[in-house]
């Protein structure tokens, strides 16, 4: 996956472009925010009039008039605020939705390599948290930045027309507040990050401890675990206490600035009133302005840092969206129509990491409807053969042919339509048994599903469940044993009616008797399919026409059971140890 380089400017332009797809909404919110800023900054002026021309001179009519004007202006402000808030939320949420779906889509186009490399938690966090954060801060920032500049500008304008001297003091106070706040944010943000990480550490300790509670108890590791948790938990508390300190000192600092400024404004303004250079109403207006501007100034530091963060979040999301899938359809890829089911590995070499090849120059042919048992020690490369055939990974050297067609030249979807894979550790989705079995073939009838379940020797178990085939299984339902999961996966593969069936260690979690029954049944079912069975249990060889033995990425033996047993190689060893001396 070549990751393109991202520059802050580039990300910004890209975001703006995305936002401009709804330019009219953007424009409308900008206009409305400006109106809102006007209503807010004119408020103190109205109060000034009410006091100077109404209350101080005892003219109730004028006081009431200005009061009503203030009410009206506030109402207009409220209405515009509401509409802007709604519009910006709509705008940013549409963007978030767009990015989420794009990222999700991109993830599902990636080859398995991508998932080997990037932690699952990372992906989830990028799709959910990062997009939400982006939306939240974007909608807030659009409003806040415009609002802040206009409110501050207009307020200063009104103030300077009333008293430049007092205005300078307030301007100075505002600047100091903004600066302390910027400092506050730079101090506290890294702490918040560390706290978030530390919380993750705590959660993962608890999760892995509880998942492995049986092992913890068996090894009497309780005290060891408590010690580990307590250490990290205390660290978490210490970080939070440091935050408390920073919050208490810097977070409340504007209050101190406000105090100094208020007292000076009061003294200077008071003297001005006595000298007749300023009115009571004007002084009140100044005090109101001071409190009015305090909040946005406090938010300024956070706006800037939130902005940087959303750019970082956007970068992470774009990285996912832009990731080039390693395995993708060739431009000239064609559909793989009806196949007979011939498989050829032609000098195939593959490695997951450069260090060590997983498959080295592997060649073999499987005839249509032939059954192959692929065996060998762990790490020999057995599962890799199945994964390459599914094109989860791309071969590094050589080629794989199906019915004579290089699989790189056919549409991935059509390739996989013909093949069904039962993985070693099958995945069960949260859903009903029925949904899980019909997963690969949504059109399957109930009859098909039951037939497949019977063949997979799981029907009786399903029938014993409270809601039969409608019982919810998986993460949010009944937890199945390894053997039950395997059999559901086999049923799932059978429902698909594939031409090629790949079974990866399908009986490893079954007891001998179930295994025997399953194998007996499979003999009948597998007729008409090309089958590759990967496994350790020698009993699986009974299903096969031919046996391939793999060791350290190479095919070391090939032949029928009889041939291989007479050769007394690796397979012979495998066989004799299984049957306990071959008696």
């Amino acid at each position: 996956m070549p990751i393109p380089e991202y520059r802050t400017g580039g990300i910004l332009i890209r975001l703006i472009k995305l936002l401009f797809r709804k330019w009219y909404m953007l424009a409308a919110s900008a206009v409305l925010v400006i109106i809102y800023a006007n209503t807010v900054s004119v408020g103190p002026v109205i109060i000034k009039y009410a006091i100077d021309y109404g209350i101080t001179v005892g003219n109730i009519g004028v006081a009431v008039k200005y009061s009503l004007i203030l009410m009206g202006v506030t109402a207009i402000g409220a209405a515009t605020w509401f509409v802007t808030r709604y519009l910006t939320a709509l705008l940013s949420q549409e963007l978030a939705h767009y990015l989420r779906v794009k990222a999700f889509e991109s993830i599902h186009q990636q080859s398995m390599e991508f998932f080997d490399r990037i932690a699952v938690g990372q992906l989830i966090s990028r799709i959910t948290n990062d997009t939400n954060r982006l939306a939240r801060t974007l909608s807030w920032q659009i409003r806040n930045i415009v609002n802040l500049s206009f409110t501050a500008g207009l307020s200063l304008y009104y103030m300077f027309t009333m008293s430049p001297r007092l205005s300078y003091i307030i301007l100075l106070a505002i600047v100091i507040m903004a600066l302390t706040n910027a400092r506050y944010v730079t101090l506290i943000r890294p702490l918040y990050d560390r706290i978030r990480n530390q919380l993750g550490v705590l959660a993962s300790i608890v999760t892995s401890n509880l998942n492995g509670i049986r092992t913890v108890k068996a090894l009497a590791l309780e005290d060891h675990e408590i010690h580990k948790f307590t250490g990290e938990n205390n660290e978490f508390a210490n970080l939070n206490l440091r935050v408390a300190k920073v919050r208490a000192t810097y977070g409340n600092a504007p209050q101190l600035v406000l105090g100094v400024t208020l007292a000076s404004v009061l003294y200077l303004g008071g003297s001005g009133i006595v000298a007749g250079s300023i009115s009571v109403g004007e002084l009140t207006a100044f005090i109101t302005y001071l409190t009015l501007l305090m909040w946005p100034m406090r938010a300024l530091g956070f706006t800037i840092s939130a902005f940087q963060r959303s750019l970082a979040a956007a970068k992470r999301v774009f990285e996912i969206i832009d990731a080039e899938p390693e395995v993708k359809d060739d431009l000239k890829a064609r559909k793989l129509d009806d196949i007979k089911g011939e498989i050829v590995f032609d000098h195939v070499t593959f490695y997951y990491t450069e260090k060590k090849p997983a498959l080295l120059d592997v060649s073999f042919r499987v005839a249509p409807r032939e059954k192959i048992f692929l065996t060998g020690p762990p790490g020999a490369g057995k599962s890799t053969i199945l994964k390459l055939l599914m094109r989860f990974y791309e071969v590094r050297n050589g080629r794989i042919l199906i019915d004579g067609c290089d699989i790189r030249q056919v549409e991935i979807k059509s390739l996989r339509d013909h093949i069904a894979l039962v993985p070693q550790e099958p995945f069960i989705f949260s859903g009903t048994v029925k949904e899980n079995i019909a997963f690969g073939n949504p059109d399957a009838s109930m009859e098909d599903i039951v037939r497949a379940a019977k063949a997979a020797k799981i029907h009786d178990f399903i029938s014993s469940l409270p809601d039969g085939y409608n019982t919810v299984i998986g993460e949010r339902g009944i937890t199945l044993s390894g053997g039950q999961r395997q059999r559901i996966a086999i049923a799932r593969a059978l429902v698909k009616r594939p031409k090629i069936l790949l079974l990866d260690d399908p009986v490893s979690n079954l007891d001998t008797e179930t295994e025997k029954k399953l194998i007996d049944d499979l003999k009948k079912i597998l007729r008409g399919m090309t089958v590759i069975i990967v496994g350790q249990r020698i009993s699986l060889a009974t299903l096969a026409d031919r046996i391939l033995v793999l060791d350290q990425g190479r095919i070391v033996e090939e032949g029928t059971h009889k041939e291989l047993v007479s050769r007394s190689g690796l397979y012979y060893k495998l066989y004799t140890t299984s049957v306990g001396g071959g008696s």
Binding site: S67, F82, Q109, T215, G270, T284, T375, P423, L574, S583
Partner: protein
């Protein structure tokens, strides 16, 4: 793929806690930090007093100094005003700091307590709970409890006190004007209440939708191989598109409510300001009040909205805290702890004799899994336990390890009832490798060392060499330093089992129990391992549960269990000659392989 509501959760089983009971309990816990709590109380009082005094002083300054032209007095009063604001700032700073401190200390101790408690609970507790719920109780619910009950209540108390103070001083200054100024309070409460509820609900929907989409992403990545294999990408994308859209809509819903809430609150406050202005203006004109009083009142009115909003919505957060507390106390108060008798015996120099005497046991009352079982394993003997799935093999181990206690009969180790033995010493003496091996995050080296904390790298390597798995580990990308991955995801089941065996042998145990511990290892490796184990097992007692009867063959004795009863017992040869169940099982297995293979026409 559809989404289904989750099944039983911790809170369903938790007993009802009343808010009052909970408060009492939390305050009892808080008494540990009484110094900090006292400082919080002090800062609250100081904050209230200063925040009442400032507008009052402002009124006096306007009336008695500015309007009367008393300039020297104005300087002094401005200084006093500044000192009051300084006091307000100082008390606020102290308040923020100490509330946080109390909260964090409380949170820290609560989490430590829960985690320690979880370690002491029995397996019975864990089998009926979801791990996710327990993690959430330890991490999230404790946070909620702190946010609402500790930090939350302390700050609300502060606000409440200042609210009372403000109203009192207003009444003191001018009762009639107070009545006028407070006419908007019912409206404030009404708005706070209705919107509070709706917002709560909207936030709940957002959380639900975010959880749904997270779950979907999580599941679709966990099952990516299956999704790809079955070409279900497009279907999943469609489902995600819907969920994502709903998530966005939920967020917009919150924004809409918030967008209405604050303007309404502002309008209501403005209404009150206007009433004060109009009525105050009238009073000033008739000489019944001063301008300073009007200014002070406007300031007071502005301070009412926040505490009222907070206080009104306290109820809802309290509900959340109650739910969180119930889940927390379901763990803390659980009595399903592993118990040790007073004066429990420390096992030393174990010979390794294990005996089950007339043992009956059931997980669910009335459905016994073991029925009057008698087994005697002599020191140094290696016994295989075989039988079909569900026969009760693993249960046997559960009782020896004391994950569960027998209902009837006794489990003895070296002649001592396991119930009278110190749990840690029992489990240190008996090495158990379970069916589903669990590896902890960290390297392979770290994982093996868990068997004997404090062991050196050399010891680990020595054990692996003895087991013959040293080369296998060396072949891995970073040898012993290879990351086992979260929950051992990156290793195959067989590889995990090899590591678990090394971990078990490292502790030099007197008794080794392998519960299907070799099921996913290939037969050749298994045979190699078995030979190595044979040497390592010298002088140790072993209980080996196995599907593969080839394993049983090598053991000193075989015990066959069916339906919770021992039905056969003897050496491999004896049982083969007896032509009973074991013989049948063995024949089945070998026939399946030999006949089918050798008689096949190819």
């Amino acid at each position: 793929m559809t989404l289904h509501p989750s099944a039983a959760t911790l809170s369903e089983e938790a007993r009802e806690t009343s808010a009052w009971e909970l408060l009492k309990r939390v305050s009892r816990d808080l008494s540990r930090y009484r110094v900090q709590v006292a400082l919080v109380a002090l800062s609250i009082v100081a904050y209230t007093l200063t925040s009442i005094a400032t507008p009052y002083t402002l009124g006096i300054i306007i009336d008695n100094y500015i309007l009367k032209g008393n300039l020297p007095g104005l300087a002094t009063m401005s200084l006093i005003y500044f000192l009051l604001l300084l006091g307000q700032w100082a008390s606020m700073t102290a308040n923020t700091y100490y509330i946080q401190t109390v909260g964090q200390l409380y949170l820290r101790d609560l989490r430590n307590k829960i985690f320690s408690k979880l370690q002491r609970l029995s397996m019975k507790f864990f089998t009926s709970r979801r791990i996710g719920d327990l993690v959430s109780a330890t991490i999230n619910d404790t946070s909620t409890l702190n946010d609402v009950l500790v930090s939350g209540i302390l700050s609300v108390l502060g606000h409440l006190l200042s609210l009372v103070g403000v109203v009192a001083i207003m009444i003191y200054i001018n009762p009639v004007m107070t009545a006028v100024a407070l006419t908007n309070v019912p409206l404030l409460i009404f708005i706070a209440r209705t919107y509070g509820r709706r917002l709560k609900e909207a936030h709940r929907v957002v959380r639900k939708k975010v959880a749904e989409s997270t779950m979907l992403v999580e599941e679709s990545i966990a099952g990516i191989l299956t999704i790809k294999a079955f070409g279900m990408d497009e279907r999943i994308l469609r489902v995600f598109n819907t969920v994502s859209n709903e998530t966005s809509r939920a967020f917009v819903g919150v924004a809409k409510l918030m967008g209405l809430f604050w303007p309404f609150m502002d309008l209501t406050v403005t209404l009150s300001v206007i009433l004060v202005l109009a009525f105050g203006g009238y009073l000033v004109s008739v000489g019944a009040a001063s301008i300073g009083v009007v200014v002070a009142f406007i300031q007071y009115v502005n301070r009412l909205a926040r505490p009222i909003t907070q206080f009104v919505n306290m109820y809802d957060s309290l509900q959340a805290a109650l739910a969180a507390a119930e889940r927390i106390y379901a763990v803390l108060d659980s009595e399903e702890v592993e118990r040790e008798v007073i004066g429990a015996v420390e096992l030393k120099n174990l010979r390794g004799e294990i005996e089950l005497r007339n043992v009956t046991f059931s997980y669910v009352p009335g459905r016994p899994v073991l029925k009057n079982v008698n087994i005697h394993v002599r020191p140094g003997e290696v016994v295989a336990v075989v039988g079909s799935t569900g026969a009760g093999k693993t249960t046997l181990v559960n009782l020896v390890m004391r994950f569960y206690d027998s209902d009837k009969g006794q489990v003895l180790i070296d002649g001592i009832d396991v119930k009278k033995v110190k749990l840690s010493s029992l489990r240190r003496a008996v090495s158990y490798v379970p069916q589903e091996t669990y590896l902890f995050p960290g390297t392979i080296m770290d994982n093996i060392k868990l068997g004997k904390p404090g062991a050196s790298d050399e010891e680990v390597i020595a054990v692996c060499k003895e087991l013959g798995i040293h080369e296998f580990i060396e072949r891995m990308p970073d040898a012993y330093m290879t990351d086992a991955g979260e929950m051992g995801k990156k290793l195959s089941t067989g590889e995990k089992q090899l590591i678990a065996i090394a971990r078990a042998m490292l502790r030099d145990p007197a008794v080794v129990i392998l519960d299907e511990a070799l099921s996913s290892i290939d037969v050749v490796t298994e045979a190699m391992l078995r030979r190595a184990m044979k040497k390592l097992m010298e002088g140790r007692t072993g209980i080996i549960i196995a599907h593969r009867l080839s394993t049983a063959k090598d053991c000193d004795r075989v015990i066959v269990i069916e339906d919770g009863e021992v039905i056969e017992e003897g050496t491999h040869v004896e049982l083969m000659n007896a032509r009973g169940r074991y013989h049948e099982l063995y024949k089945n297995m070998t026939r399946a392989i030999t006949t089918a293979l050798l008689n096949s026409p190819k």
